[in-house]
């Protein structure tokens, strides 16, 4: 299983801050497609995806137990 986090505006669209999903073996790009289908309102293209608290590449592949996160454009400071 993979843990998926949603933050800020994305969280308001998904209605959940995190969920577990059977996405082991998916690439990061496939994870984005999966989320875009599940939550039609989210702009997954504008978000970066982190895996295990580090920005990931589209071709990176998810391993069981990984923690993924959709990172919408940041606005700290």
């Amino acid at each position: 299983m993979i843990t998926v986090h949603y933050f800020a505006g994305l969280k308001e669209v998904t209605g959940v801050s995190q969920e577990q999903a059977n996405l082991s073996g998916y690439t990061v790009q496939q994870l984005a497609q999966w989320a875009a289908e599940k939550y039609p309102g989210i702009d997954a293209g504008a978000a970066r995806i982190a895996v295990n608290e580090e920005y990931a590449l589209p071709e990176d592949r998810l391993q069981p137990g990984d923690v993924a996160a959709f990172i919408p454009p940041v606005s700290g400071g």
């Binding site: 800020a8 308001e12 940041v74 700290g76 400071g77």
Partner: protein
């Protein structure tokens, strides 16, 4: 406290300045970003910040390491507050010490730029007639952020 941290309480900036001070430091720059009441003629009531806390703290530490590499001898401490903040509250503090002042100024400004690029923290502005998550400050006209 930690040198790079996300906090949920009021920030004491002096604490971070003290963390970077050492006998070889001739200069310390301390930047504090505050909640501003007016942005482009719109009055902010308060802000709400959210973070992906463990990743945000890692990214703050990464910025500190980048600074040490670019400005040898410079030391950095950064904290960002999350939760609801009122006007004039400190959202972020950046302390940089360095033997000479030029590096302390440059590295400090570099840190706030990098925070706005890579650290997973989000700001929601709450006005009298609505609220909005702010994102992608890079796309905004210059001078909009702090």
């Amino acid at each position: 406290m930690k040198t790079f941290e996300i906090v949920t309480h009021a920030i004491d900036p002096q604490h971070y300045a003290d963390m970077v001070l050492r006998p070889e430091a001739g200069a310390v720059t301390l930047f504090t970003g505050h909640v501003r009441e007016w942005t482009k003629g719109v009055r902010t009531l308060y802000l709400a910040y959210e973070a992906y806390v463990p990743m945000a703290e890692k990214k703050l530490a990464q910025i500190g390491a980048e600074i040490e590499e670019r400005w040898p001898g410079a030391q950095t401490a950064i904290a960002h507050r999350i939760g609801e903040l009122a006007i004039s509250d400190i959202a972020v503090v950046i302390a940089v010490s360095s033997p000479h002042r030029k590096a302390a100024y440059e590295a400090n400004e570099y840190a706030i730029e990098r925070i706005k690029e890579i650290v997973p923290i989000w700001k929601k502005e709450i006005w009298e007639d609505g609220e909005e998550w702010i994102g992608d400050q890079k796309k905004k006209p210059e001078g909009d952020g702090v």
